[in-house]
Symmetry: C2
Subunit: 168 residues, 2 copies
């Protein structure tokens, strides 16, 4: 990597490493907080947060999996844990008997509300404390476009990110 790196100049390489490192450190920090403060993994928090944001606090398993980028079985596992703790409920959908609707319970909402302040506090402290207004605008703009691009790029393996099952 001290070499030209066969396609990335040193400025790109630096930005790439910084992005990976910042993302990792940030995730590590918030994950630590969520576990200590709410006994939640980051994934579990994301699931709950999505539900809290959803109309009626309800989403199909598949929609959740699409968002969290998990295998179905992985989501079933996590949903099982959240269900056991009374943070969500699961019931067959009325529209489509194959589907399962996941709903946040009051306890789930309360837990999210409880950990959210500390969560955003960490984020602000780590990510935004050292940024100017211009930095924030620039970062948001650039990363927003990058994200859109990433989502648009067809996955190499040519299958939808949602259910990536190797060989079905």
């Amino acid at each position: 990597m001290s070499e030209p790196a066969a396609g990335l100049n040193s400025e790109q390489l630096g930005a790439y490493f910084a992005l990976i490192e910042v993302g990792s450190l940030l995730q590590y920090a918030v994950d630590e907080h969520l576990r200590a403060d709410g006994d939640l993994s980051y994934v579990q928090f994301q699931i709950l947060a999505r539900l809290v944001d959803a109309p009626d606090g309800r989403l199909r398993m598949t929609d959740l999996a699409d968002g969290v980028v998990y295998s179905r079985s992985g989501l079933t596992y996590q949903a099982g844990l959240l269900d056991k703790r009374g943070l969500i409920t699961r019931a067959p959908s009325a529209d489509d008997e194959r589907s399962v609707m996941v709903t946040v319970t009051g306890a789930g909402r309360e837990l999210v509300a409880r950990v959210l302040p500390g969560h955003v506090e960490r984020v602000r402290e780590l990510l935004f404390a050292s940024m100017t207004e211009a930095d924030l605008a620039g970062l948001g703009s650039i990363l927003g476009r990058v994200r859109d691009h990433m989502r648009a790029v067809p996955p190499r393996s040519a299958k939808p990110r949602a259910g990536r099952k190797r060989t079905g």
Copy 2:
């Protein structure tokens, strides 16, 4: 999170989510490639890459752990895997008999050289393809400063504390 989020404005929230998502998608993509192309996890690749960059291709276990931000035992586990595959060697340090020096082997260097082109290709395709020169300069500058800040921030109470004090 549809609420004011108790401390982050919507611009900050958007930047935060974009950062997490971009970082995750990027890591997922390169990890997938490294496994398919070199049977390496991202962590293993990082270890090898650091060694390739180090003088004489050698580093102490502790220095590696510091860089990769893992527990010692985790690094020992990963080093064991790489050692078994002949990609690194381990030997007691001459300076300090407690230390273990890790060295990349020729096979290790070859493997890194083999996967690197595809690796950077993915990064360019996903991360840089949609960015302008100005974007790159801005992103590198901002994230570089954020990383320095994150590294400088004293880690919150490690863990043993039940209720975290020391809010600043």
